[in-house]
Amino acid sequence: MATQHSRTAARLMISPAVILLLAWMIVPLALTIYFSFLRYNLLMPGTEAWTGWTNYYYFVTDPSFTDAIWNTLALVGGVLIITVGGGTLFALLLDRPMWGQGIVRILVIAPFFVMPTVSGLVWKNMFMNPVNGIFGHIATSFGFEPFDFFGQAPMASIIWIVSWQWLPFATLILLTALQSLDSEQLEAAEMDGASWLNRFWFIMLPHLARAITVVILIQTIFLLSIFAEILVTTNGGPGTATTNLTYLIYVQSLLQYDVGAGSAGGVIAIILANIVAIFLMRMIGKNLDA
């Protein structure tokens, strides 16, 4: 039959791409898992040996591991709160007709195009630096002591920088969602006696629920692996104050040359990311079905 035939042909045609993608994923994953069970230190070449769960044991019992988990959660949670909240506000503002709308919208989206390392350095040196930064200058000109952002509030500073980068993404998605809201619904609510706050709470926010879900899901996936901003600003410090899981893995494998422990950390990160993903899907997946 023609359909049977074309189906076979389709599978045949698509298989190279699928096999390539699969190999692309499976090979590094398999290697990581394999390394994680080896005693594998770059400073001692030729001494690789099977060690079982030892790498996992040392990685998990390392005191900086607990710190890293909490830091990761704080980073992801903080950025999500700021970007979803701020994104909604920006979307509401940009949805209003105003002069120069096109330019303003492009300006709002601009931070998204700045590379993470660049934005990290710009914020670190030009804004938050107590001596050279603008914030320091402003504080001094008013007679206050300049605030040492990365010394006093390192995590909050990193959260701020990452939020600045991700705010445009949230704004863009929420703005599009807001524009798809039927204006007659808002007018009907207005006739029904709903104040602006009521209209926002009862009409706009439920309409935005799906878009907010998408923003949270996509951002969480990317925020779990934030690395460049930490590397160029605080190097994970002071102490372990800004070390997240990604950065801890980097420290293990590339600063301490312990590839085995680094791989064990990588596997733990994969498992944690999947737990978060399943959890999120369960929690907000209902929103996507409706």
Partner: protein, 334 residues
């Protein structure tokens, strides 16, 4: 109570005058229909009354009180939108209760009113469904229910039936008329469908390009159109409008004669012509007759059993008592 008065109301969007200075009074309990071709400003006029648009100048009074500057919620009017504008994430019950909830009415009272409205509109079985699970007609009824519970001074309908299929439209037309009889609340209804206008209205307001062309009862408009536009707009099929020599015979620039006021026969009459297209509706037949010396074909209505074919020689005789005469400005000559 629901008396609405407009005095010298205008509305312009930038350079464009959508509503020219306009006076209109709507009496308590009246069913008023705004009708006109698309872009005539009828929906804008309704939105001005609702308060969803600000007037550029003029005054709107509701029940004798100046409402020109009042926000929509304070005017005591309820509106049913063309798209129904139901809140998709709320159940039918919550949709209907929404205005009451906004008015901070207590829960028991809300429930009672919702049940009452649902009973009136036969929505009892659907109260816990979402709007997405309802058919077009049911959604329409929910939208009306949401309007009813507020017990407004007047209902405003913005082309509420245009998204429904033909059969449902006839049914909803009757239901809305029935509702008006029962509630005796003022209703203002916007449509471009003259059948809706003719069947439902106590008073029709014909609009064109932001001007009121004529206000009157449906039959008034049908029998005595004040100008050529109303004559051509009200009535289906359209009135035949003749210019030139035929009109000059009656001392007018244009004469109008409705299709049902022309006799058709094969033996003799005033105008001779050949049958063009004929539309057989069963009960009626409409013939388009190409008469000698006239540019446009004349539409003639006759009984369903009359049988002429394309190309047949026929003679038409207009009823002189039913002739409408218009001067060169298009105004009616008595």
């Amino acid at each position: 109570m629901g008396r609405i008065t407009l005095e010298q109301v205008t509305k312009s969007f930038g350079e464009v005058d959508v509503i020219r200075p306009l006076d209109l009074s709507i009496e308590d309990g009246e069913f008023v229909v705004f009708v006109g071709p698309s872009g005539c400003g009828k929906s804008t006029l309704l939105r001005l009354i609702a308060g969803l648009e600000d007037v550029s100048s003029g005054r709107i009074e509701i029940d004798g009180q100046d409402a020109t500057e009042l926000p929509p919620a304070k005017r005591g009017l309820a509106m049913v939108f063309q798209s129904y504008a139901l809140y998709p994430h709320m159940s039918v019950r919550k949709n209907i209760a929404f205005p009451l909830r906004m008015a901070k009415m207590d829960k028991a009272e809300q429930d009672r009113k919702v049940e009452q409205a649902a009973a009136v509109l036969n929505l009892g079985d659907y109260l816990d469904r979402r709007p997405g699970q309802l058919s077009g007609g049911q959604r329409q009824r929910v939208a009306i229910g949401r309007a009813i519970v507020r017990e407004p001074a007047a209902f405003l309908f913005d082309e509420p039936l245009s998204n429904l299929d033909a059969a449902l439209r006839v049914g909803m037309r009757l239901e809305i008329s029935e509702l008006h009889k029962r509630l005796t609340t003022t209703m203002v209804y916007v449509t471009h469908d003259q059948v809706e206008a003719m069947t439902m209205a106590d008073k029709i307001v014909v609009l064109r390009a932001g001007n009121i062309e004529q206000v009157g009862s449906p039959l008034d408009l049908y029998r005595r159109p004040l100008n050529e536009f109303v004559a051509g707009f009200i009535g289906s099929p359209k009135m035949n409008l003749l210019k030139g020599a035929e009109a000059a015979k009656d001392n007018a620039a244009t004469i109008g004669i409705r299709p049902e006021h022309i006799g058709i026969s094969s033996d003799g009459g005033e105008w001779a012509g050949k049958v063009g297209v004929s539309e057989h509706l069963g009960s009626d037949t409409f013939f388009h007759v190409h008469c000698d010396g006239m540019a446009e074909p004349i539409t003639v209505r006759s009984g369903g059993e009359v049988d002429f074919h394309r190309g047949d020689q026929v003679y038409l005789t207009p009823d002189p008592a039913q002739l409408h005469r218009f001067d060169d400005k298009g105004l009616r000559i008595e």
